[in-house]
């Protein structure tokens, strides 16, 4: 089996920044032909995002991490002719994706109702912060905004502290993108059975609510608003993150029942704790967890975080180091599993990027071609796909339609 | 062998006196429990109406003072004789009742009422009396006048219909009197509950026990099968609706048998390994509970191929060591000799006038801190007349003599 799952599927991709490109990133890796529509007037802004490398509109880390295996062409969508060409392109495509800050596609007369006319079985995906209907449909949105509005920040923080922004910019972007990718695959599945296309309207805010189902169910059931838990857990103790030997090294440890607790105490050489009134059972450990955490750290701080994991896991106790970004890249487990892949890069040679997080038992692991430069595939798109003549292409470039 | 304790000081029912009009099995067994637990049971008979079981025996000559059946159902009691057909005797009975806590009877009909000893009468002379009436069909309802024997009740209550080989005909129960004893024990429990209530409230009451209802209570599964789904369970014999193997298999020797039950797949594997047929584990016919049930005929015959080369104790040891349920189908004499029951002191030795030391079944439980119980030999007819009439009723010698002449005490 050499074929990739989505081979033969073509996507016209208007998305930019994070949430959108991550959707088509999944599709591309799975074998779909993703044609990224940009222009020098409106390049994907991540090409230039906080990049120390270059601002020459080729590639930043941000961009590279989300655009492997895609093709790129440039069209100045402000011009009617460009929109004509896009329609031609869409006619020979299966999916259109966009994540503009407002109803840009409609203004370009590329809304779903328009596209249906030229390609009845088209599948159109719209990703937005608040949905393509409703009071906020015209608002721009960033992950952080959605995380704050959706309640995620109010649950990200230290007990008794304040709401904090999530670890990595774009948590809501990427989780939304993956829900979007799944929805598109479902729509494709439906089309493969019935020949019908459809419109997919994804709201990041709603994705975040899905991710907070527990707190939401608690609110709808008990009218309760859960506070910040930090590394703690309402039913387990110990359940936290402890300082280790070395500079800013940490390990996470969780004990889910009394058997694990006994194993834990013996392993770290404090069997007497199993008899200690304060920690004798789960309820007492929860009542006294601050003290417990302090005592545990007395032990962890004399060991490296990897040591702690090995010792405790051998005893059947859950533990894992808090990996730093560099450690993630060097982690022997991820390494052996081949989570990382070396991707060719026109500027920096090859770089090590994370693959998408799954392994298929058969066949190739996906299309991880290097990310395209701006307009890199104009020839392919306009000549091969739309059969434009050299002259015509030259003219369109002069007219800055292809630009 | 446990020594019989003569020490009643700390027996649970010390101080409770029972005027006992019961006879035969169902009744006698009740007061036997009470007696062993320390109650003073005064069994009221007469030469005109001795307890039937005094005569029910075989092999022993008629002049033997004691039948085995009587001996094993009446130890721990006192015996006196009153000819209840005479008004004077009933007077005396009332006097006995006045100084008693419990009255027990199991006549074939409302005899006590006819004697003026019904609950309403007794309440007048002893307001907090607890009266127990045991009968086959209850003291109310359409059959209240009918005599009943265990077998009749077992047949009527549905027990016989389930005491049968799979899909075979209904059969009479092993021991004549199964329902007698089951009823008796429910009766004992009811009396103890009533005594407990009296100890808190000072109030007595009337207990009406029906053997038929006892048996119904002992057939919850078949009865609920019917009340829930309207289905009548077929008799299963040694089989079970959810377990296989689950049967009784012939062993080496003359009419020797062992019972084996396998309740899940783990036990099945252990079983196959233990009897040296591991290949059965893979055998399609037996590889899980459902299949074993479907093919249990075959399975049983195969298992018997193995058991019949072993002695039944052997089979138990082998299988139990492997964690599989198994036990010999003991013969009565094997029960009497079983080392386990022996070591637990299930049997008690009782020194019997006219017979000597006999070994009888005790009551089936041990209390950690109380002497074994009152196992005085079963009373001879009227053996305790003196105690009852002289000590209890404080009657002068002369009067007692007179009443004996008048065949009141008789």
């Amino acid at each position: 089996m050499q074929q990739l799952p989505l081979e033969g599927i073509r996507i016209v991709d208007f998305t930019a920044v994070w949430a959108g490109p991550h959707v088509t990133q999944w599709m591309a890796v799975m074998g779909a032909e993703v044609i990224k529509i940009e222009s020098n007037l409106r390049p994907d802004m991540t090409r230039s995002f906080f990049s120390n490398v270059n601002t020459n509109l080729t590639m930043s880390a941000e961009y590279s991490g989300l655009n492997c295996g895609k093709k790129a062409c440039t069209l100045n969508m402000t011009l009617p002719k460009a929109r004509e060409l896009v329609k031609e392109l869409i006619k020979v495509s299966d999916i259109v994706t966009e994540n503009f800050g407002g109803s840009v596609m409609d203004r370009w007369e590329l809304g779903y109702s328009d596209l249906k006319k030229i390609k009845p079985d088209i599948i159109m995906y719209s990703g937005s912060g608040f949905g393509r209907t409703g009071p906020y449909k015209e608002f721009p949105a960033y992950a952080g905004i959605v995380e704050a509005f959706g309640g995620l920040c109010s649950l990200n923080g230290y007990p008794g502290g304040e709401p904090l922004p999530m670890a990595t910019f774009g948590y809501a972007d990427i989780t939304s993108a993956e829900h979007g990718a799944f929805a598109i695959l479902a729509a494709l599945h439906h089309r493969s059975k019935t020949g019908e296309g459809q419109y997919v309207d994804l709201s990041m805010t709603e994705v975040v609510s899905c991710l907070l189902y527990e707190q939401i169910m608690d609110y709808t059931m008990n009218d309760r608003v859960q506070g910040l838990q930090g590394n703690w857990n309402s039913t387990m103790a110990p359940h936290s993150c402890y300082r280790c030997q070395g500079d800013d090294e940490w390990v996470a440890i969780a004990v889910s029942n009394d058997e694990e607790w006994k194993a834990f105490c013996y392993t770290i050489g404090n069997p007497e704790w199993t008899m200690d009134e304060r920690f004798r059972d789960g309820l007492n450990r929860l009542k006294n967890q601050e003290e417990l955490d302090r005592l545990i750290e007395e032990w962890t701080k004399n060991h490296t975080h990897y040591e702690v994991m090995e010792v405790l896991q051998k005893a059947g106790v859950m533990a894992g180091p808090t990996l730093k970004v560099a450690e993630v890249v060097q982690d022997r487990h991820l390494g052996e599993r081949g989570f990382f892949i070396d991707v060719g890069h026109p500027d920096v040679g090859t770089v090590r990027f994370p693959r998408l997080p799954w392994r298929l038992s058969e066949g190739p692991q996906g299309n991880y071609e290097q990310p395209p430069r701006l307009g890199e595939h104009n020839d392919y798109v306009f000549a091969e796909l739309l059969h434009l003549s050299k002259e015509e292409m030259a003219r369109l470039q002069e007219e800055q339609v292809i630009f | 062998m446990l020594e019989v304790s003569k020490d009643l000081e700390k027996l649970p029912l010390e101080g409770i006196r029972v005027a006992d009009f019961t006879a035969v099995w169902a009744g006698s067994h009740i007061t036997q429990w009470l007696g062993v637990m320390g109650a003073e049971v005064i069994k009221i008979e007469s030469n005109l109406r001795p307890d039937l079981t005094r005569m029910v025996f075989r092999g022993m000559s008629a002049d033997c003072p004691m039948s085995a059946v009587f001996a094993v159902l009446n130890y721990g009691k006192k015996g006196c004789t009153l000819n209840m057909t005479l008004p004077k005797a009933r007077e005396l009975a009332k006097e006995i009742i006045e100084v008693s806590d419990v009255v027990t009877e199991n006549f074939g009909g409302p005899v006590m009422d006819r004697w003026g000893l019904g609950y309403s009468d007794l309440k007048k002379i002893k307001p907090d009396i607890i009266m127990y009436a045991g009968s086959g069909f209850g003291r109310t309802g359409p059959y209240k006048e009918l005599p009943a024997f265990a077998g009749i009740v077992e047949a009527f209550s549905g027990l016989c219909s389930l005491n049968a080989h799979p899909d075979g005909e209904p059969l009479p129960m092993a021991t004549r009197g199964y329902s007698d004893l089951a009823a008796a024990q429910h009766g004992v429990f009811a009396i103890l509950a009533a005594l407990y209530h009296r100890s808190k409230t000072g109030r007595g009451q009337y207990i009406d026990l029906s053997m038929t209802e006892v048996m119904a209570a002992f057939l919850p599964e078949p009865i609920i099968h019917y009340t829930m789904n309207g289905t009548v369970q077929a008799p299963q014999g040694n089989r079970d609706s959810t377990m296989a193997p689950h049967g009784c298999y012939r062993c080496q020797g003359d009419d020797e048998w062992v019972a084996i039950a396998v309740s899940n797949d783990d036990e099945w594997r252990a079983f196959c390994d233990a009897i040296g047929n591991p290949e059965w584990i893979e055998d399609e016919r037996f590889h899980d509970g459902l299949n074993r049930l479907k093919n249990q005929e075959q399975l049983d015959s195969l298992i018997q191929e193995w058991t019949k080369n072993h002695d039944h104790y052997e089979v138990m040891e082998i299988l139990q060591k492997a964690g599989v349920m198994a036990g010999p189908s003991f013969k009565v004499e094997e029960v009497a000799q079983d080392s386990h029951l022996g070591q637990r002191g299930f049997f008690v030795d009782i020194d019997h006038p006219g017979i000597g030391a006999v070994r009888l079944a005790g009551l089936p439980w041990k209390l950690s801190d109380v002497p074994l119980g009152n196992y005085q030999h079963a009373p001879l007819l009227g053996e305790h007349n003196d105690y009852v009439f002289k000590e209890l009723l404080k009657m002068p010698e002369e009067e007692i003599a007179r009443l004996q002449e008048e065949q009141v005490i008789y």
Partner: protein, 406 residues
């Protein structure tokens, strides 16, 4: 609600299936407060054991469970967890009685043996109901209804009669669950006796009850005859001492008839119209009848086959000859007798709906038996018991559930 006979007795029932629960039921039905401790998840084994409505298994609809657990409070508790053990001890401290039917070794390993528990509560009566008791070589052997029935000796003499080629038939386990029920019943009696002992001494004690013995003691007559008269006893025909009574085939069913004694023999042959055979020497007195009882039975059955169950039973009873039809569960449930005695209880259960099952086999005039509430749902009273009784918070409940402690 008037007080019942056993009102005020606090019982903890740590038991599964039939023996322990029947013991607890007897106490609960007469007013004792029984807190039933079930393992989280599947709960009491009898919940997995039919009968079920429409034969669709459902943990809250097992007829056996519903019957055996009326009037009890139900809590879930994993006594193997540290917290669970704590709670268990908390319950024991407040209890008069503990009923358990666990393997003795398991109880000791958990540290819940009597010696340990009595330190927590010297007044505790601990009733242990196990197949072979707390001591002796079989103590740790496994058993079930079948095994106990056979090891009690009951099976070997069963049936007492009625099978021609009995030599080729295996000894017979009677109706199901008898071993368990008898053990539970004896446990209840023994428990009460210990309660009375406590009224004298103020101290509790352990009741050690063996299922094997409980059943064996039903054979006290046979055992007596064997030990006293040294007569071997088998289920083989003709060797049975005592009164002959039999099942006879009628035109439309079976009857159980006792017409052996003179008192019943005369009226019976009169009822049969004094056939010649009956007047012969062979059947003149009890002794000769016993000798020739097979013949007599055969002749009697020839006659009964010609008549209906109804006519025979009606006339026989009029003559006070013990005689009843051989019924199935169906007929006993439908019988006018139990109808008239108002015997069956109709209990409405939240999930199983209305279920009809046996009531109490005895009627107490002052403190009548009654169903205060149906069998508990699994863990139905966790909050009532743990929060109200032992002072845990609801949040504790949530945590204990997450830890699969309750």
């Amino acid at each position: 609600m008037s007080t019942q006979a056993l009102s005020g007795l606090k019982v903890v029932e740590w038991s599964e299936f039939v023996s322990g629960p029947y013991c607890g039921k007897l106490l609960a039905d007469l007013g004792a407060e029984v807190i039933k401790v079930e393992k989280p998840g599947s709960g009491d084994k009898s919940r997995s054991y039919g009968p079920f409505p429409q034969k669709i298994p459902h943990p809250e609809k097992s007829g056996l469970f519903l019957y055996l657990n009326t009037n009890k409070l139900g809590v879930t508790l994993n006594v193997k967890s540290t917290t669970g053990a704590e709670i268990f001890k908390g319950l024991i401290k407040q209890a008069d009685i503990l009923i358990e039917n666990k393997p003795p070794r398991e109880v000791e390993e958990l540290g819940f043996d009597y010696q340990s528990l009595k330190n927590l509560n010297p007044g505790l009566v601990m009733t242990s109901i196990t197949p072979f008791g707390q001591a002796g070589p079989y103590r740790d052997y496994k058993s079930c209804d079948l095994i106990s029935f056979h090891m009690s000796g009951m099976a070997f003499i069963n049936p007492s009669d009625g099978v021609d080629d009995i030599e080729n038939k295996a000894p017979l386990r009677g109706a199901t669950l008898q071993a368990d029920l008898v053990a539970g019943l004896n446990g209840a009696i023994a428990t009460m006796s210990a309660i009375f002992a406590r009224q004298i001494t103020g101290l509790g004690q352990q009741v050690d009850l063996s299922e094997q013995e409980a059943l064996a003691s039903f054979m006290r007559r046979e055992l007596g005859v064997v030990t006293v008269e040294g007569i071997g006893w088998t289920r083989l025909k003709g060797t049975q001492p005592g009164m002959a009574s039999d099942i006879y085939q009628c035109s439309d069913g079976r009857i159980y008839l006792i017409c052996f004694h003179d008192r019943t023999w005369e009226p019976w042959i009169e009822f049969m119209g004094n056939p010649d055979w009956a007047t012969s020497e062979l059947f003149a007195d009890m002794a000769s009848r016993r000798e020739n009882w097979d013949a007599a039975k055969a002749m009697i059955e020839e006659w009964t086959k010609e008549h209906s169950v109804d006519e025979i039973v009606r006339t026989a009873e009029a003559m006070r000859i013990p005689c009843k039809p051989v019924n199935t569960a169906k007929e006993i449930v439908e019988s006018e007798l139990l109808e008239a005695r108002d015997y069956f209880a109709n209990v409405d259960h939240k999930q199983a709906g209305k279920v009809k099952f046996p009531g109490a086999p005895y009627k107490l005039s002052e403190t009548p038996w009654r169903v205060e509430h149906p069998a508990p749902l699994l863990g139905e009273h966790n909050e009532k018991v743990y929060c109200d009784r032992l002072g845990y918070t609801k949040q504790d409940l949530v945590r204990m559930r997450a830890g699969e402690v309750i």
